[in-house]
Symmetry: C2
Subunit: 171 residues, 2 copies
């Protein structure tokens, strides 16, 4: 009887853990992982040949709408940019195509001029790996993000230039 | 009076032309440009170092859903893949980042096993440039597309391998 009780308790514990894994902890500055960002529309892409990574930059509706209209300096309040980063690899079927391989991290810039006044009006956060572990030991991690973005202060602290796209058609 | 009439007619003609430019002609095999593809979700990206182009591969809901579940060999009926292609350039603010510059074309694969039985179950089409001019002089242009895709016959004729992504969270 005692053994059965232990097995039942263990099962509940395993179930609880499985459920926990579907949660992602917030960043050390309390920014929560934006829900559903994986399916946001595309703003641009890049291949960083210095650190051998491929990137796709997505945005929430506010950011994508601004990007499509060319109104990105400054980006509007509420805009969120999501940069997804992968290690580069070669496509097996076409080895002159460099393609995303291991997922490195997803990093975010969230525009809120008042809340994030001290860091150019942007909240920064990053989640590492497919299990999306928050980056940074404490809230000071944002100084690293902000420091790297200082060279693009005049572009509203953003490196990304929206890719040129055909206008949507009316048909 | 005659001059005024000519001016009025000319104005109508100019208006009609402006409106025409918002339309995009179908491909020579009668495939129509999928509406709103610019805002579809991302499946993968690539940097072709042989022809110096950057690509982002988007999909309609059916294709994205299949990609997220890893059910892509074969891709489901109704799936549409959109490959957007740009000439490579250097990001001015970080010259080790290769980024999309001039828009080259958007090309599509549309899965319909019966309708496109002769070309692996896929309909092919491409629209060139920001003004989206249909590619190909006549419907035989698809033989060029199909020929290039023959090496990936065992991958349901598709080069793209969906990028690894964190699972959506429940929070």
């Amino acid at each position: 009887m005692k053994n059965i009780l232990i097995i039942i308790l263990l099962s509940f514990s395993l179930l609880a853990n499985a459920s926990d894994k579907e949660q992602v902890s917030p960043a050390p500055n309390n920014i929560k992982l934006p829900k559903g960002y994986q399916d946001w529309a595309m703003i641009s892409s890049s291949h960083r040949i210095d650190n051998h990574s491929l990137r796709v930059i997505l945005g929430n509706n506010i950011a994508v709408s601004a990007a499509r209209k060319g109104k990105t300096n400054p980006w509007p309040e509420g805009a969120i940019l999501a940069k997804m980063v992968w290690k580069e690899g070669e496509l097996e079927s076409w080895n002159k195509a460099i393609v995303p391989e291991k997922f490195v991290h997803a990093e975010f810039m969230i525009k809120n001029s008042k809340k994030y006044e001290k860091t150019g009006g942007w909240g920064f956060a990053r989640w590492v790996g497919l299990d999306q572990k928050p980056y940074g030991n404490d809230e000071n991690f944002v100084q690293e993000c902000f420091g790297c973005h200082t060279p693009v202060k005049d572009n509203d602290w953003v490196y990304t230039i929206p890719s040129k796209l055909p206008m949507p058609t009316k048909h």
